[in-house]
Every structure is written in structure tokens, then in C-alpha cells.
């Protein structure tokens, strides 16, 4: 290992786990969006959110190197 401390922005990578593994939170129909029950559009929206969070961490790491 290179002995460097992990970058503080790595915590952002845990956010999707919190968002998606607490299932009771999103297991509802309402509010609907374009005909999609909440259960579906909530999970789908985590795709771009997760990509954005990962990108933020990537930028943070790049400035470190």
C-alpha cells in the first residue's frame, strides 16, 4: 500500500448504499412521476445520482495525485 490516508470524499461512495438498501423507505406508489410509482423512479434516479457522486470523488482524487 502507498501509506496515504484515504481521501475524505470517499465517504460519498457510501451514499448510494444508504439510499438503496433501506428498502421500506421507497416501497410506495406515491408520489408518481410520469406514470411510474415511487418505488421505480426513485431507484432509477439513483443511477445518475450515483454516477455524479462517483464523478465528484474522481475529481477529488485527481487533485490529490
Amino acid at each position: 500500500m502507498n501509506g496515504r490516508r484515504p481521501h475524505r470524499s470517499l465517504w460519498l461512495l457510501l451514499v448510494p448504499y444508504v439510499g438503496l438498501l433501506w428498502v421500506p423507505f421507497y416501497n410506495t406508489r406515491a408520489p408518481e412521476l410520469w406514470g411510474f410509482p415511487f418505488f421505480y423512479w426513485y431507484q432509477l434516479i439513483w443511477v445518475p445520482i450515483t454516477a455524479a457522486l462517483t464523478w465528484l470523488v474522481y475529481r477529488g482524487l485527481r487533485h490529490d495525485d
Partner: protein, 499 residues
């Protein structure tokens, strides 16, 4: 469902198949190496695939034909529960971002080709290396067979019956993989993924509009589940933990498989992998929309002989013939890419971590490539024979177990990249506990993915693979602590300073 051959669809299908076959053969010349007679050239394409090639390869390899067929089939059958593939393929990417670049660097600096190479390099333990290698091979085999199941579903929809189409496709695949190695599926992945994107985007845009819009689709599915009395478009409370644990367990296992790791090792750099962790989720968006095809099957009022037919029949019913042929070609080709990479991954493991380790340690680079080529061929033949002569349920059962098994290699592969604490015997003990214990639990449940536990009067079910990993970790930690304690005592007692 008719069994007449749909000539237009078949013609388009064959045209695309011929296209990718030609590409498979010319792939040997793509990014031409000095020689293909080296395992890192044949088996890893020279470790030079940049961001976009990696995106197409890993995407094409991770989102398989079986995925396209089976996820909507499960959603059609049980509803919301089948959607766990969506959170699974979201949360996998932060993990890939954090871990895989480190793994890549270790592999590149030391010339490692496989997960077992990394483990052996880190711990120096032949037993642990063998455990990881054997697990990788046996977990991959049923997965290849299931790609054939996906292809067979598509062949049925076109009206091609019998074994000949499947055998032909596979023979062709075997030949160009033999000659070109990983370059073949990497090149074909471009075609395959573009086709899949077009087919799925068209499907999720056009089909709902022909069924009355998404609200109508959800309502129809809801009604169908109410009428059936099981399943639903939301989860039942006793499904919350299964859903979450299936998602988490699958995410942790996904990049432990030889085929996904091969895509990682073949990358040009650590940043290639990081960028892909940001970009690959595009496929997940597609998968989420694709899963909804399961509900569209209800809205379209299909009658199916098998749940696996929902996607092929939906395409056949609601697309014009030529586009259905295109979509079917996308799915069938979508079986070739992962099948090729899976066979290469298994071959790399066998060559490095069994043949070179135990049979011929002095093997040359050309020798390694040759052993791998033959192994990859044998693996494909084995999968084909299994698909033709064994019941599909067998492949499904083995696939379930394979997921559980490969998850047990997680501690051995990942921990050593970040912490010094664990030693090989402890990890091996953990692997044995997880592998044997998990298999026994799954077996005693009749090979179902969920195991039920009772605690303080509360019963709950969770994914048995994750449970096995927990057992694995517990045993590894206990054994490790015990061994460290023992070692510390021995050091103190035998230290020259002890008085």
C-alpha cells in the same frame, strides 16, 4: 406461439451474426501485438483497452443475454421483487471505483492475469490460490450454460428449432475465440452493445405507447398479480430484507467472477477503471427500463409457455419483423460476448493457477497461451453439452450456488489490497466455512436463494450467499485472531530479550 420461421427476422438475424463472426476473426489483427502467443495478449488483449473499449467490453460482458431474458422474466413472474437487479447494478459501481483500480495496479506491476495470481502473490499460499481458482472456474461454468439458454429462447422466437442453430453458433464462437482471444469479444462488444441499446430504447419507448402508456402498463401488471394472488408491483414487508441482501450480495460478488475481472485486468490503467465506474451505470438505466418489459408482457396480454419467453414474444408481437430480427440478433450476440470472456477467464485461471502452478512451472509464454486456448475450447464444449443434455434447472441451480461460491473469494481477494491484518490460513478457513456452510444451507433449503432465520421470536429471510459471507468473515476473523495471539506468544517466549 407459432413455430413458423419468420423469414425476414431470420434473414436480418443471420446477416448480423455473419458480421460479428467476421469481426471475431479479424480481431486478431486489431491493435496488433508482436505475438498472440502470450497469455496476457491472448487472455487480456495486451492490457491496453482504453476507456471506451473497456466500457463496451465490461458492459457487454456484465449485461449478458441471460440478463436481458431472465430479469424481465422474473419481473413478469413475481413483480417488484425481480427488480433487485436495479439496486444491485447501481451499488456495484462505487465498490468498483474504490477497489478495482487498486487491484489493477497490483496485477499490472506483477504481471498477474487472474484473481488467484493476485492472492498467491499477496499471501504466498498455494492452497488459498487453488481455492480461489477452483471457485472461479466452477462458478463460471453454469453462467456460460445460461447464456446458451438465453440464445435458445431467441432461436425459438425466430422459429429455429432443434440443436443445430445453437451448435453452429457455438462452434463459430469457439473458433474465433481460439484464434483471437479477448480481442474477439472486445471488438464484437461494440456491435452488440450498440444493437442492445437501440433495441431496448426502442422497446421502452415504443411498446408502452402501443399499450396505453406507462401508467397503463403498471396498472395492468398490478391487476394481473391481484388476479394471480401472488406477486405485486410493490414489495411485501417480508421481502424487504431479501431484496436488500440479494442486491448487496450480488453487487459484492459481481466483480469477483473471472469474466468481469478479466475486463478489469485488460484495462490500460487505473483511471480507465475509475472512469468506467462513472460511465457503466448507463447500462443500469437500460436494465431498469428493460426489467419493465416484464410488466409490459402483462399489459400486452401475452400467453407464454415459459416466463423466459416474455422478451422474445413481446418483440415478436409488437415489433415489425425486420426490427424483431435485429433485436433477436442483439440478444443472441449478447450471449456470445460474455460466453467468450467467461471461457477466457476460466481458461486463464486453469492455465496460471493449476497448470503452471502444479503441472509445468517452467511453461513458456507460448505454452501458457496454448494451454489457455485449449482450455477455453474445452470449457465451451462442456457448457454446450450441458445445455443440450442436462435440464435447464440444473444450470439455474448451479448458477445460484456459483454466485454464493464466488462471493466467498471476496475476503481473500479484496482484503489483502487494503489491510495487513489477515493471514492466509485464516482466509482459507473462512473460505471453507463460507463455501461448505453456504452450500449446505442452500442445499437444505432446496437450492433457493433465501435462507430463513429466527431470532428472538422474529423470523426473517435473507440471501444465503450474504449469510455465507458473514460466516466466512466471522471464522476468518476468529482464526486470524487466534493465530496472531499464538504467534505473539511464541515471539515473546522465544525472544532473545525475554528473561
Amino acid at each position: 406461439m407459432t413455430t413458423d420461421i419468420d423469414v425476414t427476422a431470420l434473414a436480418i438475424f443471420i446477416a448480423f451474426f455473419v458480421l460479428v463472426t467476421v469481426m471475431g476473426f479479424i480481431a486478431a489483427r486489431w491493435r496488433r501485438p508482436q505475438t498472440l502467443a502470450r497469455l496476457d495478449e491472448w487472455g487480456l488483449g495486451g492490457r491496453q483497452f482504453g476507456t471506451w473499449i473497456t466500457w463496451f467490453l465490461v458492459g457487454g460482458d456484465f449485461y449478458t443475454a441471460y440478463t436481458v431474458i431472465a430479469v424481465p422474466a422474473l419481473v413478469y413472474a413475481v413483480g417488484a421483487y425481480g427488480f433487485f437487479a436495479l439496486p444491485y447494478t447501481i451499488i456495484v459501481y462505487p465498490f468498483v471505483f474504490a477497489v478495482m483500480p487498486v487491484l489493477w495496479r497490483v496485477a499490472k506491476e506483477n504481471g498477474y492475469i487472474t484473481a488467484a495470481d493476485v492472492v498467491h502473490g499477496r499471501y504466498g499460499s498455494r492452497p488459498l490460490e487453488l481455492a480461489v481458482a477452483v471457485t472461479g472456474v466452477i462458478a463460471t461454468m453454469p453462467y456460460i450454460a445460461l447464456q446458451l439458454v438465453g440464445m435458445a429462447a431467441v432461436f425459438r422466437a425466430i422459429g429455429l428449432v432443434g440443436e443445430l442453430p445453437l451448435v453452429t453458433a457455438f462452434v463459430v464462437l469457439a473458433i474465433y475465440t481460439y484464434s483471437s482471444g479477448l480481442r474477439a469479444p472486445a471488438l464484437i462488444a461494440f456491435v452488440k452493445d450498440i444493437m442492445i441499446y437501440i433495441a431496448v430504447i426502442a422497446a421502452v419507448a415504443i411498446i408502452p405507447s402501443r399499450l396505453g402508456g406507462y401508467a397503463a402498463v403498471f396498472a395492468a401488471a398490478d391487476a394481473a398479480f391481484q388476479a394471480k394472488g401472488s406477486g405485486g408491483i410493490l414489495l411485501a414487508p417480508n421481502q424487504f430484507l431479501p431484496y436488500a441482501t440479494l442486491a448487496l450480495g450480488s453487487a459484492l460478488a459481481a466483480f469477483m467472477y473471472p469474466h468481469t475481472l478479466t475486463g478489469i485486468f485488460a484495462s490500460a490503467g487505473a483511471n480507465t477503471i475509475r472512469k468506467n465506474a462513472i460511465l457503466l451505470p448507463a447500462y443500469t438505466l437500460l436494465l431498469g427500463l428493460l426489467a419493465l418489459l416484464g410488466y409490459m408482457g402483462h399489459a400486452a396480454g401475452l400467453t407464454l409457455s415459459s416466463n423466459n419467453d416474455v422478451v422474445p414474444v413481446l418483440f415478436k408481437t409488437l415489433f415489425p419483423s425486420w426490427f424483431a430480427g435485429f433485436a433477436f440478433a442483439a440478444i443472441a450476440i449478447g450471449a456470445l460476448v460474455p460466453a467468450a470472456v467467461m471461457s477466457i477467464g476460466a481458461a486463464n485461471l486453469f492455465t496460471r493457477n493449476f497448470w503452471k502452478a502444479y503441472v509445468n512451472p517452467e511453461i513458456s509464454h507460448a505454452g501458457e497461451a496454448q494451454v489457455a486456448k485449449i482450455t477455453s475450447l474445452a470449457v465451451k464444449v462442456g457448457a454446450l453439452l450441458a445445455t443440450l443434455y442436462l435440464p435447464t434447472q440444473f444450470a439455474l441451480d448451479l448458477q445460484l450456488l456459483g454466485g454464493l461460491w464466488i462471493l466467498q473469494t471476496f475476503p481473500a481477494l479484496v482484503f489483502g489490497l487494503f489491510v495487513e491484518w489477515f493471514c492466509a490460513p485464516a482466509l482459507l478457513a473462512g473460505w471453507v466455512a463460507g463455501f461448505v456452510g453456504g452450500t449446505w444451507l442452500a442445499w437444505s433449503d432446496g437450492l433457493k436463494p433465501l435462507h430463513t432465520l429466527s431470532f428472538a421470536g422474529v423470523t426473517f429471510s435473507l440471501y444465503v450467499g450474504l449469510l455465507a459471507l458473514a460466516i466466512n468473515l466471522a471464522v476468518a476473523a476468529i482464526v486470524n485472531a487466534g493465530l496472531r495471539l499464538g504467534r505473539r506468544r511464541t515471539e515473546i517466549l522465544t525472544s532473545p530479550q525475554s528473561r
